[in-house]
Symmetry: C2
Subunit: 404 residues, 2 copies
């Protein structure tokens, strides 16, 4: 709690920023605090328990005050280009990535942004490479569209998870078309370095792959690491890369449904549009547009505070687990607010998710959803206040100790 | 103005409900009041100049107060089924249409809801029947997806526009797959009667057509008329009908992006989903969901007041035109808040849209966008206060008279 209090004190964002009481959180109608009953502490779906940044609130309050729910417009034109312009300006400012708003397609969410390129750039039966464990909707997208999963396993290399490009090279067949890259990686928290990304880039060029680069966690990297947008690795890579991202994860507004697909070249965008017309993807709400523009242009102070708090919360998770439950393996996430926990050494008789649900009244994300056979793994979301995090960890430790 | 004042007095909805000052309207960031400069009075895009219903405002204020922009959830499940349930309950209550929430797919908007069935139920080069003049995005959907337009002309029959099914029957070829039905019809304002709809239904069955029934204006019908949902014409019709609708037109919330596609049978929905996975369509924002549910369950009083006001505004348009510009043909819209004006007898030297834009400083919707060759037609949106409507009409009359 000391760490959280220090962070809050420094931001001027208000004492409640990181410390919303549980009663306030439970009054939200979001997934995190409503999917389970009132005695469960949620640490599953990727939502943060923090107050939304004031510039986002101001943008929405303005619309409410004006009763302004008409077709979104801005300066005589459609409003969607504002999102594209805010994205482009932000990519240059944060990552030195110079690109163009005309390459941006606004979408509702990144699940849509995953289904769409799979349908546009491959056929049923074609192979799609996916780092596993993986965000469950990636599995869903591959299965629903009847593509073939080619797994790229994130292996536990002692202090972090890594993938082996040589092994992947052997698995790529004549019908492998797409690589889904998630960086920072959900759920392992890896922030891939230049060498790792370059190896994938070389393979993508050699094997003529389209890369769908999910970089939704790119704002949330720690310990001085730098996020490298995959499309910046060179023009040959840009020409085959669809970057999908949004403000929804960093700024905690997934319910406003606004994100972007960025195509590395006009040709790639046109190839996509030949199969998936923009209008099939639907319009984005005016409130989602306004909130996203506010997030990407006016909320750096809020984000800085979050990016100061999250590694402290992460370290609390690691400290408690190492001290109290050393059988649980967990490598420090380099980014994201998600920890991938390996409970195999606890030798639980039920899936780890079920054990902690039943005996700790804590809801984790079941490992099996991220990779078949991983029922003794689970993902823990640590984007909450230190008091709630301590209760989550305390309950888990108690339940595990009581058992042994 | 007297009519408007009477209506307002009866509703208890507040004196400003229909009479928002122009300064308030221009403070909105919507298309209607921002696409043109400050000296133009807008009567084009289908937005209403009325204050949004309080239950909708309350729903959004609740989310803002809680900072509640997470993944929308309701009673432990996803929130989208609430929209489906509200739709089904409303269809039964208003139209005696009994259907099932499992047949409903929530979408962002009805342009998406038009592109999607065209892509799912036809191939490039296949024929799509469209009543013309037509809502411009229908033309766009047919052209973008490379389908062939089979026009079904709405002919001026003296007091209203009608279509001829026999003529249509002759035009249907072996590759004609889809009929887009717009009822109430935009822009002619026709509310089709049972005989007209039955004739289309028989043809749809005989020629094995899928019907995309846009019923977005179904709440806005006047003079004791009744809207008949096309899917209620019988099980054989339901089995081939995709109904698309939303609360956005009746309740003036298009920027919140929430609508529904209703499939008449589970088999039709499955056939659709085989080509267009639900996730490709994207998620709907929590605010759009909450607003739509509020609109469909708690805003009847507001809607009743609107449905009392709009025919008064319509009659004002007709009275003024008949008295001052009898050369302009216009049949009383039976529904919608749109009037289709035939300016051919004015013998203007430029398109009618351009003439009134330049000389009356009034923005209508150009007729050419609804049907090629209709540059001497325009659509007028009369969903505004009587004072603004009188200024629009006065400017148009002055400009046309000055010319002659």
């Amino acid at each position: 709690m000391a760490l959280a209090a220090r962070t809050v004190g420094a931001t001027g964002l208000g004492a409640n920023f990181f410390d919303l009481p549980e009663s306030v959180l439970r009054s939200r109608r979001n997934s995190k605090w409503n999917a389970y009953g009132p005695d469960i502490l949620p640490a599953f779906v990727a939502e943060m328990d923090f107050a939304v940044a004031e510039p986002i609130q101001d943008a929405i309050r303005r619309a409410v005050a004006a009763g302004d729910y008409g077709y979104p417009q801005y300066k005589g034109g459609k409003a969607e280009p504002r999102v594209a312009e805010a994205f482009v300006a932000r990519m240059e400012r944060r990552f030195g990535w110079k690109t163009d708003p005309s390459l941006v397609q606004v979408v509702a969410d990144l699940v849509q942004g995953t289904f769409a390129p799979l349908l546009a750039f491959s056929e049923p039966g074609d192979g799609v490479i996916l780092q596993v464990p993986a965000y469950p909707p990636f599995h869903e997208a591959i299965a629903t569209t009847k593509r073939e999963l080619t797994p790229l396993t994130m292996r536990d290399a002692g202090t972090r998870h890594v993938f082996d490009v040589t092994e992947l090279d052997d698995r790529i067949g004549p019908r492998t078309r797409i690589l889904i890259l998630c960086n920072p990686q959900n759920p392992t928290g890896r922030v891939f370095d230049h060498a790792e990304l370059s190896a994938l880039a070389r393979l993508a060029i050699e094997r003529d792959l389209i890369v769908v680069a999910d970089e939704i966690h790119s704002d949330l990297v720690y310990d001085g690491r730098k996020h490298i947008p995959f499309a910046t690795l060179g023009p040959e890579i840009a020409a085959r890369t669809v970057t999908i991202t949004s403000a929804t994860k960093s700024f905690n507004i997934p319910g406003l449904r606004c994100g972007v697909m960025h195509f590395g070249t006009p040709e790639l965008r046109q190839r996509f549009a030949n199969t998936i017309p923009a209008r099939l993807l639907g319009g984005c709400s005016g409130l989602g547009i306004d909130a996203t523009v506010a997030a990407w242009t006016s909320c750096d102070q809020w984000l800085d505070a979050v990016v100061a708090h999250l590694p402290a919360a992460r370290d609390r998770v690691l400290e408690v687990l190492r001290a109290e439950l050393p059988e649980v393996r967990c490598h420090a996430p380099e980014g994201t607010y998600l920890a991938w926990l390996d409970f195999r050494e606890l030798h639980l008789e039920v899936p780890a998710f079920q054990f902690f649900h039943d005996h700790a009244r804590v809801a984790l994300s079941p490992g099996e959803n991220f990779q078949p056979g991983c029922a003794q793994f689970a993902r823990l979301n640590f984007a909450t206040s230190m008091p709630i995090l301590d209760r989550i960890l305390g309950r888990m430790v108690d339940a595990a100790k009581k058992r042994t």
